[in-house]
């Protein structure tokens, strides 16, 4: 990437709220194209809100957010949805929906009004499901899927959406070790194949250490450090972010920055 190319996603002085108290209070973030960026921070630090602002689920209350140098709030919504896919932490399904139809929703930003999905849309959806190893679930009711299956189905949907940016909210929370590994392997492979920019919010410092090329540390709605993981994931920064001691300091249960056995994922 040339030095002149704008960041894929960039926020300056971003302010956002959910009606009442501000959650983001002048946040800065820069995520270059092709990065895997991990956003870390305490509960309530604004991680998920930042993701939702990028996904245009939460409105920008102030400051400037840009996608490839263009103002995000000036872009047509459908166009943003063609470029940015959001994978929520969990979705509570009230009505029955076939898994394939859920994945086909990823084609909605390309659909024309009332028209049903085209054969091409179905093909892309099924292809995405194959890539995420959930093709066999296509005809099942999505409500009956396990947590791990559902994560991969939503990943397939993001893939069917053909977006250059994926926003993942706590993608591994609640997954057992095997499903976690499978999910991350899938994510890693697709990222490698397509060069998708990934922004993921997580509580797992170790995951950021293993997977991310870039790390953002959030506290009280502001960024306290961002950059490549080696320079950001220092004990001092992490202690500042979480207010908890890191290995070798104070507690036998202290956090460690990056040591889970995920060798195959190491870039």
């Amino acid at each position: 990437m040339s030095a002149a190319a704008p960041n894929r996603l960039e926020a300056r002085g971003l302010v956002a709220d959910y009606g009442a108290a501000p959650v983001l209070r002048g946040l800065d973030a820069a995520i270059p194209a092709g990065a895997i960026a991990a956003v870390l921070g305490e509960n309530g630090s604004g991680k998920s809100t930042l993701l939702k602002v990028f996904a245009r689920v939460v409105a920008i209350g102030g400051g400037d957010v840009r996608l490839d140098g263009e103002r995000l709030d000036a872009l047509p919504r459908r166009q943003t949805a063609q470029r940015i896919a959001y994978v929520p932490q969990s979705v509570d399904l009230v009505f029955p929906i076939r898994t394939l139809d859920l994945v086909l929703q990823g084609r909605a930003p390309y659909a024309r009004g009332f028209v049903a999905e085209t054969a091409d849309d179905r093909l892309r959806a099924l292809e995405a499901m194959r890539a995420c190893d959930v093709e066999a679930l296509a005809q099942r009711d999505a409500a009956s899927l396990s947590g791990g299956e559902r994560r991969r189905v939503f990943l397939a949907r993001a893939l069917a959406q053909e977006a250059q940016v994926w926003l993942l909210d706590e993608p591994t929370s609640g997954l057992d070790p095997r499903h976690r590994l499978e999910f991350l392997e899938t994510l890693w492979r697709i990222h490698g194949e397509r060069g998708t920019t990934v922004v993921l919010v997580t509580h797992e410092v170790a995951l950021a250490g293993d997977l991310a090329t870039r790390v953002l540390l959030l506290k009280d709605g502001r960024t306290i450090a961002q950059g490549d993981r080696a320079s950001v994931l220092t004990a001092e920064n992490l202690e500042r972010t979480f207010g908890a001691p890191f290995s070798g300091r104070g507690s036998r249960f202290a956090l460690r920055s990056a040591v889970l056995p995920m060798g195959s994922l190491e870039p």
């Binding site: 959910y18 009606g19 009442a20 939702k52 996904a55 245009r56 689920v57 919504r77 459908r78 166009q79 943003t80 949805a81 063609q82 896919a85 959001y86 929520p88 979705v91 509570d92 399904l93 009230v94 009505f95 029955p96 929906i97 076939r98 139809d101 859920l102 929703q105 990823g106 909605a108 930003p109 659909a111 009004g113 009332f114 028209v115 049903a116 959406q161």
Partner: protein
């Protein structure tokens, strides 16, 4: 859209209309209607001229209420949403009754009912908001409160009104199709068509809403705009249905569930099919209301409530 579902809906509606046309306090003979001479023929034609507009009105009112319910359920991602339970029908009745009490022309009754319905929707939505989103429990509670309030207003209006006005208050409270005329059917039709067209056009977006509002927003939907459109269109459908037939509850709750169970939750099928099945339900219920203990007519609102309340209870038990 699944054409099979639409075909089933059309067949059901045609069957219900045929039966409703023939039954009632007096059985109508097609032979007399077509070829009847003298008194028999006259009676048959008179019956037909009374029943046909009533069936037409029943079909339009049922379609409007069911479609409004289906759209609200998807928009709010809530299987218990219904224009009656959310107080929209009550607001419409108060609007229409208020206009009648003020001596406004009956021509303004649909507009007044629409204003009442929209105000009720807005009020209930504001009451149910918590942290920027609509809370399911609060929504139902707010609907309950709104209904209690509107009932009180209608009862108060009923007690001050006299003669014809009092009768019309009762009409709005209990729901009735007895005053159907071809003119009323013709007057309701354009409103029903407009509201239905707007909602069916929003079907693809409502599919995304039925997974969640955030889901819709992340997939490129202008959610605030869609919410306004769907609230207004469903208020219009509810308002005009109430203006022409009074409060007929539970149609918007029952019908989408039945259609969803049979044909799935794709709104592009669900919305038009709900209109057809809603029309069928109210036509059939009205036929039962006329024929069950003829010559006395049962109030149709009581009939749909008797059917709807147990289903609501069942749904409530199943809702997590």
């Amino acid at each position: 859209m699944r054409t099979g579902a639409i075909a089933v809906g059309v067949l059901l509606l045609v069957a219900a209309c045929t039966v409703a046309f023939l039954v009632g306090g007096v059985h109508l003979s097609i032979a007399d209607l077509v070829a009847g001479r003298g008194e028999e023929g006259q009676t048959a034609r008179l019956l037909a001229s009374l029943r046909a507009p009533r069936i037409g009105l029943a079909a339009l009112v049922g379609g409007c209420l069911a479609l409004a319910g289906a759209a609200l359920q998807a928009l709010l991602k809530n299987p218990l949403a219904d224009p009656f339970l959310l107080g929209t029908s009550g607001g419409a009745a108060v609007g229409a009754a208020g206009a009648a009490l003020l001596g406004l022309s009956p021509l303004l009754s649909p507009a007044a009912a629409f204003v009442g319905a929209a105000a009720a929707s807005l009020g209930v939505a504001l009451l149910a908001r918590r942290g920027g989103r609509l809370d399911l429990q609060r929504l139902l509670l707010a609907g309950l409160i709104a209904n209690a309030f509107f009932s009180a207003l209608l009862l108060a209006a009923f007690s001050i009104a006299s003669g014809e006005a009092a009768r019309s208050m009762l009409f709005w409270m209990m729901g009735s199709l007895a005053d159907a005329t071809p003119r009323k059917v013709a007057a309701l039709f354009p409103y029903a068509l407009a509201g239905a067209a707007v909602l069916v056009a929003a079907a693809a977006r409502l599919n995304l809403f039925s997974v969640g509002e955030e889901n819709a927003a992340a997939l490129g939907v202008d959610t605030e705009r869609t919410k306004r459109i769907v609230f207004l269109a469903s208020s219009l459908l509810t308002g005009v249905a109430v203006a022409f037939a009074g409060v007929i509850g539970f149609v918007g709750l029952l019908v989408p569930h039945a259609v969803r169970a049979a044909f799935g939750n794709d709104q592009r099928t669900l919305l038009p099919a709900s209109f057809l099945v809603g029309a069928t339900l109210v036509v059939a219920a009205d036929a039962v209301a006329r024929a069950a203990i003829a010559p006395v007519e049962l109030p149709i609102g009581a009939l749909t409530a008797a059917l709807g309340a147990p289903v609501f209870a069942w749904l409530l038990l199943r809702t997590p």
